[in-house]
Amino acid sequence: MDRECVSLLPRVCEVLAASGSSLPDDTSLEKLLDWFTGLTKAGTSLLESCPCLLEFISTVVHNTALDPSILSFTLRLTGFVAVTEVAFKVLQESSVLDLVFNLQHWQEAGLWEDPCIRIGWIQGLRTMMQHPKALSFFVQADFLQPLLQLQTDKSLFVASAANQMLAHVLLSCQSVSSVGSNDVDEEGEDVGRSGGSIADLEYSAVTVETNQDYAAVVTAISECLKKSLVPRENTQLHQSLQILKLLALLLAQTRPPLWEKLLQMVADSVDELLVAGYSQLILPLMDVILAAYSSCDVNRRAPDQRVSRLLSFMLNIRKPADLIQAAAAFLRRGLHDLVHTAQSARVLLLPLDIITGLNLLTTTADEQRFLMMEQLKNKTSCISLICVCLTNTPQMTLMAADCLPCPPVLIVTAVLSLLKLCSGDSSSPSSSSSGCREVSRNVIGSSKVQKCALDALTALSGSPGVEVKLAEVFTLLVQCLDNPDSDPTVLQKSFQALVQWMSVCSDLSSITDQHRQDLLQVVRKRSCDIRWEVRDSTVEFLGRLAGVRVIQTTAEEASDASVAVLGGCCFTTPLLRAALQDTESYVRASAISALAQTLAASWQQGAALTQEQTEIVNQLLEVLSWDTEGFARRAVVRYFIAWLSSMSSHSCVQSPASSSLLMPSVRSVLSRGSADLDWEVKVHTLELAELLLDEAFSGQRGYTKGNPTQTHPYAVIPNTLHTRTHNEEDVVGVLNSLVQWGVVSALLSGLVDCDRPVALRACRLLITLREVVCPLSLGALDATAAMATVARVTCELPGCGWAREIRKMLVMKAKDANAEGGVSGGEVVNCDDCGEAGQEAASVGGQTPCVSVCEVLRSLDLDERLDVLTRSSDHVHNSPLSLLQDILTASSARSQPDTQQEVIADCY
C-alpha cells in the first residue's frame, strides 16, 4: 500500500466520522470501497496496515446521527476488515462486530428503514463470511430469520443481495458440514489457518455442536424454500420468483448430499407450482429444473429421476407460449439428452409446421396442435412465438440427425416459405383450412418476423446438406431485395444472407443467368435508393461479395463472387464511383472500402493499372483533401493501407506499373492525412507509415515489427529475421526514401499531436525507427562514429505547426545539454539554435531548415515521452491518493464556507 495513502487515511477517517456530507461527490465512498476491495484481493490485511480503521468503525457505529451512506459504508468496510480470521477476532474482542451487525441497534435508531443500511448489512456479512468463525458468528447471532425476510424486501437490490447471501450461507454450511463429518480427521493439522475463500473452509475444524448448528441452518433454509415456493395468492408471485432464483443458484452449485436434500424438500412444491401453471414463473422454474439437470450433467451423474420427470412435464405444458419458452430454454443449455432434445425440437418446429403447412413433424398430439393453432391466431403472440422458433432453428439443424424430426433442408424450405408469406406473395400449401389462413395472415408484412427469418436463414447456411437450396435462397433473397416495401434493415439482412450463402456454398453452378440478371437489376436499383441506409448496405454488399471465393462450373477456377454473379469490376466499379458522390458520408465511406475490396484481386495479381484506377486514385485524394466528414477520409487512408499491404505482401512495391502511381499517392496521403483534423484519420495515416517502415526495414537487425514495448526482453528471435546483414549504406538509402515519402515528417507531426492515441502510436514508431537507425545502446560517441553516414540523412522542419513544436523541443534539449556541459546535442539544430526569432527568419528567407534524422531521434527523449503517453489521461485523477486528497480538500473547503463559495463561483 502506498505510504502516502496510509498517512492520509487517519485524517480521512476523521473527516468521514465527523460528517459525511462534505464529500466531493457521491461516488467517493464507492471508490474508497473499490480501493479496499483491491487491497483485500491483493492479500493486504486492512487492520494491520491501517489500524485507524478499527477506531473509525467503532466511532461511526455509535453515532447513529450520521449520514446513512456513511453508516452503510462502514457496514461494508467492516466486512472487508473482518475478512481474515485474525482481524475478525480483534473486531470481536473489541465488541465492535456485535454492534455493527446488531439489527436491533439499527432498528432502534430508526435507520433500518433505509435500504442502504439493509444492503450494507447484507454485503458486510457476505464479505466477511469467508471463514468458519464468521459463519458461526452468523449462526449464533441468529441472522438467518432476518435474512430470509429480506429476501422479499421491497427494494430489488436488497432482495437480490439477500438471495445471494442465502446461497452463500448454504454453500458455506455445505463445505463445513461435509468437512466436519468426513474429512476433519485427515485434514486436522491445518486447524487455525486463516482462510481467504470458501475452499479453505474445508480444512477447518468444526465441533459437533457447530455442525448441528449448520444442519439447523440448512434445514431452516430448505424449510423456508419449501414453504414460500408456492404462492398463496397472486401478490406473492414476487416471493416465489425470488425463491426460484435462489433455488436455481443452489441446485447449480451444491453437491450431494445437500443437493439431494434440497431437491427432496422442494420437489413437492415444485410439482404443485407446475400444476398451478403461472406463466410468469415458467422461465425461472425452467431455470431451476435445468440447474438441477445440468448439475447432474456436469458432475457426470445419471440424471435424477425426479428431475427428468419434471423436465418431461415442462416440455408437455398445455399453454403454448410457456411450452415454447421452456423448450427454447432447454435447447439453449445444450445438454446431452437425446429424448428431451428431440422433444424440444418438435415443440419449437410446431408453429413453423402449422404456419407453412409443410410437414416438418410427422406426428404431433392433436390437442397440442390445436392449442398452438389457437394461440397463433392472435397476432401479437403469433409473431413472438414464430420469432422464438426461428431463432432456434439454426441450432436445431446442427443436432444429431436422430433428434431432428426432419432433415435441415426441410427447415430451410420452411423458413423460405415463411419469408414468402411475410411478403404476401404466396399462400401456404395448406391454406385451404381457414385456421391456417388466419394464422398466416398475421405475419403478412411483419418486418419483425422477416428480420428474424433472415437471421435464421443466414445462420442456416452452415447446416449440413442445405447447399442444394442455394438457387431457391438466391431467388427469394433477390425478391426480398426487390420488394418496394422491404424496410432498410430487411434489405441489409438480405444482402448479408446472400453473401453468407455464397461464401458457404462456394459452388455457384446452380445460379442461372436469369438469377444473375435479376440480381444485377436489383443491385442497380438499390444503389439509387432514396434511403441512404439502403444505398450504404448495397455498396457494402458489393465490397463483401468481392471478398468471397467461389467456384463456377464452366471455368473450374476459383474467382471471387462479385465476378461470378455480377460480372466483376465492369459492373461494380461504375456503381461504386457514383457512390463516391453520394450526399451521405457513410455511403461515401462504404464505397471507398468496397472499392478497395473490389480492386484487391487485381492488386495482388500485380496487374497493370487501368485509366479508371488512376481516376479513382485522384478522386480519393480529392476526398481526403476536401470531404467534410471524417468517415470518408478515414476510408481513403484505409484504402491506401489495403493497397500498399497487398502490394508489399507480393513484393511489388518496386514494380514500375504500380509504384508510379502508388508511391506518389502514398506520399500525398501521408502529408494530408497527418494534417487532418480527425484523430482517427491521423492514426490510420500512422498505420500507413508503419507499413512503409515494415517494408523498408523488414529483416533489418534491430527492427521489430509492431509494438516495440510488447516484445519480451528475453524472447528468442528467430534467426531467419537476421538474414539481411547490417549494411550502413542500405540503411542510408532506406532512410532517405522514408524521408522522401514523408514518413518521418508524419511520425514527427504525430508525436506532438494533442490527441493521445496519435502521439502514442507515433512515439512507438519513432522508437522503432531509432532502434534500427541509431540505437541508443551504442552510446552517444559510438553512435556518432559508427553511423557517420546515416547521420547525414536529414529531413526538413518547416516553420509552422508541428515542426515548430519539434524545434522548440530540440532547442530546449540543446540548452539542457549545454548547461550540463555535455557534447552531444550541440549540433542538433544546425541551422540555428537561437530561439524563435531565428527560426522565423529562416523560414521567411525561403530556406526550410534541415535537421539530421538520427540526431532528432536521439534527442527527443522518446522513452520518457512514451512513458507519459502510455498512462491514461486520468491516471492522476483516478488514483486512491487523489481520492483521499479530494475528500480532505472538500472537508476543509466546507470548514471555511467563504472559500467554498468561491470554488462554486469558479466552477460556473
Partner: protein
C-alpha cells in the same frame, strides 16, 4: 332510406341517397377506363398508327375496316375515345335535389348529369375541388379537341357484331351508353351550378337534413360528408387518406356515431404501400438518368404530382441529378402549379405555416425558380426549342390514349435506355401500353395511391363505430388475383352491405323520432305534474303545423263565432266537439296493499301466481283473473259487470291520475 348505386367503380362512385324527402347524389365519378379500347390520338401525324390494317372477321363476314384497327395483335376502335357514364335509367335524374362532391377526381361526370337531364338542383363542393376539377375537365376537353376526329364509330356497338369481336372489346359492357367527351361550354354550364362550401360548414337542405363537408386528407379540398337530421346521421366516406402528404389531415372524429356509413374510395392498390412506391419511383428514375436515358411519367396534372415533385426536390441532390431538366407538360400545367400554392387554408399544418414566413408551401416553386422544373402548355412552341435530353417528362393523360404523352411514347418507345414510370393507379399499365407494342423502353409500375387501405379502414371503423356499413361489393372479398389475402377485405360485425352498379339498397334503419317545436304561449299553458322526482308530465292538446319539414305545435284555434248564415250549412262548419280528455293513469299496483283491499271488500280466496312481467291473481270464489303487469292490467271476468267495475275502481285507487 334508400341508396341507388349508379356506378360500380369503387373509387369513382356515383350514388343517390333518398333520405327524409331529399334526394342527394353522392359524387359523380366518370369511369374513363373505357378509353383503353380506343386507338391513341397522336398530336403529330404518326405513320405507324395511320397505316394500321382494318379489322375483318376471320371468315370475312364482318368488315369493320373503318372502325376497328389491328394494332400489335389487339383490336382497337379508331374513333374519338368515349367514356362510360354513370347509370342514367335507374331513377329520374331530374328529381335530384343536390349533388355533393368529395374530390376533383369524383366530379368528372358532372356535365353529363347536370346538362340535358332536367337537373335543377345545386352542386356543393369546396373551392379547390371546383378549381382543380375545372382544370382537369379543361385538360381533357383540350386533349380531345386538339385532335378532332370526324368519324364516330358506332357499328361495332351492335350487340350481334360485338359478340363476334375479339379480346377485351367483346367483353366491354354497356357500350351503348358510352359517350364522347363533353364540350367546354357544357363544363362551364355544369360548374356554374356549384355552390362553394368550407370544411364543417353546415348547409340546410329544405329544413329536413343538414349536410356538412369534413376534411378527408386525400387531395386539396377533398371531403367526406355528414348528412344528418335531428335523430339520424349518415356519413359518406369517399377518397380519404391518413398519410401526411400535402392536404389537411383527415377529420375522423366527426364520423363517430353514424347510423349508416357509406364507404367508397379505398386504395386501388392495397398491396402497394405509397412510401415504398415513392422510393421505387425515385430509384428507377435515377437509374435511367444515370444510364443516359429519359424518363416519362404519365400523370394527372394535379394531386400526386405535387408530392412527386417534392420528393424529387429532396432526392435530386443525393442522386446527383442536379443538372437533369424536369418538364411538366399540360395545357393547365401553369395554373395547377400556381393554384397549389394559393390554397393555403386547405393544406396540412406545416405547409400552412410556411405561408406566414412567407415562403411558398410547395418546393416546386424553387425548382421552377432555379430552372430545374420547366412547364409548358404543350409540346408545340417553346418546349421544342428548349427540350434537352436526358430529361424527365411529366405529362398526361395516364391512359396513354390522348394528350402529349402519346407523342413521347412514339418518340422514346424504341430505345431501351428510356423508362416509362406509371404512378397513377387508375389504369392497368399493360392495357395502357398495348397499342405501343412492341416496346423497347423499360416500364416500371409504381402506382401511388394514398387512399385508405384495409388495415387503416378497419382501425377507423373500430374507432368511429357506425351501426351499419355500406360499401362496394369489391371490398367484401379478397382481390381476384390474390384470393389468399384475407387481410385485403373488410371484415365487420355486422357484415357490411355490399352494392354493385344498379343496386338499390334499402338501408336498415327507420325514422323513429321527429323534432317538434312548441309555441311559447302553448307551453305556458301546460300544467306539469311530477310523477317521480325530476320527471314531470303534462298533457297537451294542440294542432301540429308542418311546413318546410318543420313541425310546430300550436294552440287549438278557438271555434270561430258561428256566422248567422242559414244559406248553406255544412257539417264541416260545425266546430269540432272537443271532449275533455280522459285522465292518464300512471304508477304501479302494490301487491300486498291490493290484496288487503280485496280482503276488505270480502274477496278472500286469492291465489297469486308470479309471471315474468308481474302477477296473476286468481279470485277463486268469483272465478275471475286479474293480471297485473308492468304496462297493463286486465280483469277477466265473465258476465259480471258489477264485479268488474268494483275491481277496476279498486285498482284505480292505487294509480295516479294526470
Amino acid at each position: 332510406m334508400k341508396l341507388y348505386c349508379l356506378s360500380g367503380h369503387p373509387t369513382l362512385p356515383c350514388n343517390v341517397l333518398k333520405f327524409k324527402s331529399t334526394t342527394i347524389m353522392l359524387d359523380c365519378g366518370l369511369d374513363t377506363t373505357s378509353v383503353l379500347n380506343f386507338l391513341p390520338l397522336p398530336l403529330v401525324h404518326s405513320p405507324r398508327l395511320s397505316k394500321l390494317p382494318g379489322w375483318i372477321s376471320k371468315d370475312g363476314t364482318i368488315n369493320l375496316e373503318k372502325e376497328l384497327k389491328d394494332c400489335a395483335g389487339r383490336v382497337f376502335v379508331d374513333s374519338q375515345p368515349e367514356f362510360c357514364l354513370p347509370e342514367r335509367e335507374l331513377l329520374d335524374l331530374s328529381t335530384i335535389d343536390v349533388i355533393l362532391i368529395s374530390n376533383y377526381h369524383c366530379m368528372m361526370a358532372l356535365p353529363y348529369i347536370t346538362e340535358h337531364t332536367g337537373f335543377t338542383g345545386t352542386v356543393y363542393a369546396t373551392e379547390p375541388t371546383l378549381q382543380i376539377g375545372r382544370l382537369l375537365m379543361e385538360e381533357v376537353v383540350n386533349f380531345m379537341e386538339r385532335v378532332p376526329k370526324a368519324q364516330s364509330a358506332t357499328c361495332w356497338k351492335n350487340k350481334e357484331i360485338q359478340r363476334m369481336l375479339p379480346g377485351p372489346l367483346k367483353d366491354a359492357v354497356d357500350v351503348w351508353t358510352w359517350k364522347r367527351c363533353y364540350s367546354m361550354q357544357e363544363v362551364n354550364s355544369a360548374l356554374s351550378k356549384v355552390q362553394l362550401v368550407g370544411y364543417s360548414q353546415k348547409v340546410e337542405l329544405f329544413g329536413a337534413v343538414q349536410v356538412s363537408p369534413l376534411s378527408s386528407g386525400y387531395s386539396l379540398g377533398s371531403s367526406n360528408w355528414i348528412i344528418q337530421s335531428h335523430h339520424e346521421k349518415v356519413s359518406y366516406v369517399s377518397g380519404s387518406s391518413l398519410l401526411t402528404t400535402h392536404p389537411q389531415p383527415m377529420d375522423q372524429s366527426s364520423l363517430k356515431n353514424s347510423d349508416v356509413l357509406i364507404l367508397t374510395g379505398l386504395t386501388q392498390m392495397p398491396t402497394a404501400n405509397p412510401d415504398g412506391m415513392l422510393g421505387e419511383f425515385c430509384s428507377n428514375l435515377a437509374m435511367t438518368i444515370r444510364a443516359g436515358g429519359n424518363v416519362l411519367v404519365p400523370c394527372y396534372s394535379s394531386g400526386v404530382i405535387y408530392d412527386l415533385l417534392e420528393c424529387l426536390y429532396q432526392f435530386i441532390e443525393s442522386a446527383s441529378l442536379g443538372t437533369t431538366p424536369f418538364y411538366f407538360i399540360s395545357p393547365v400545367a401553369n395554373s395547377s402549379l400556381e393554384f397549389s400554392q394559393i390554397f393555403a387554408e386547405w393544406l396540412c399544418h406545416n405547409k400552412q405555416t410556411k405561408v406566414y414566413l412567407p415562403e411558398p408551401p410547395f418546393p416546386h416553386a424553387e425548382l421552377i425558380q432555379t430552372n430545374k422544373l420547366k412547364h409548358y402548355p404543350s409540346i408545340h412552341g417553346d418546349f421544342s426549342s428548349e427540350f434537352r435530353q436526358p430529361c424527365v417528362v411529366f405529362t398526361g393523360h395516364p391512359s396513354l390514349r390522348f394528350g402529349d404523352v402519346v407523342h413521347f411514347m412514339e418518340l422514346w418507345g424504341k430505345s431501351s435506355l428510356n423508362t416509362i414510370i406509371f404512378t397513377e393507379p387508375d389504369f392497368s399499365y399493360l392495357d395502357a401500353l398495348a397499342p405501343y407494342q412492341p416496346l423497347a423502353m423499360k416500364c416500371v409500375y409504381c402506382p401511388i395511391d394514398t387512399r385508405l387501405n384495409f388495415h387503416q379502414v378497419s382501425k377507423l371503423l373500430k374507432e368511429v363505430q357506425p351501426l351499419h356499413v355500406v360499401c362496394p361489393e369489391q371490398y367484401t372479398q379478397p382481390p381476384l388475383t390474390q384470393s389468399h389475402r384475407s387481410d385485403l377485405m373488410l371484415e365487420l360485425q355486422p357484415p357490411p352491405m355490399p352494392y354493385r352498379r344498379c343496386s338499390v339498397l334499402n338501408l336498415p334503419f327507420r325514422r323513429r323520432y321527429e323534432r317538434v317545436y312548441i309555441l311559447p304561449e302553448l307551453a305556458n299553458s301546460l300544467v306539469p305534474s311530477e310523477i317521480k322526482p325530476g320527471v314531470s308530465v303534462a298533457t297537451v292538446s294542440a294542432v301540429v303545423h308542418s311546413k318546410d319539414n318543420k313541425h310546430t305545435l300550436q294552440s287549438v284555434p278557438k271555434p270561430p263565432p258561428v256566422a248567422p248564415s242559414k244559406k248553406r250549412k255544412r257539417v264541416m262548419d260545425e266546430p269540432p266537439v272537443v271532449l275533455a280528455p280522459k285522465p292518464l293513469l300512471s304508477g304501479a299496483v302494490p301487491l300486498e296493499a291490493f290484496l288487503a283491499t280485496l280482503q276488505k271488500h270480502g274477496i278472500t280466496e286469492v291465489k297469486v301466481e308470479e309471471t315474468a312481467d308481474g302477477h296473476i291473481l286468481h279470485l277463486q270464489a268469483e272465478d275471475t283473473l286479474i293480471q297485473l303487469e308492468e304496462d297493463g292490467t286486465h280483469i277477466v271476468c265473465d258476465n259480471n259487470e258489477p264485479l268488474r267495475t268494483t275491481l277496476r275502481d279498486l285498482v284505480l285507487r292505487f294509480l295516479q291520475k294526470l
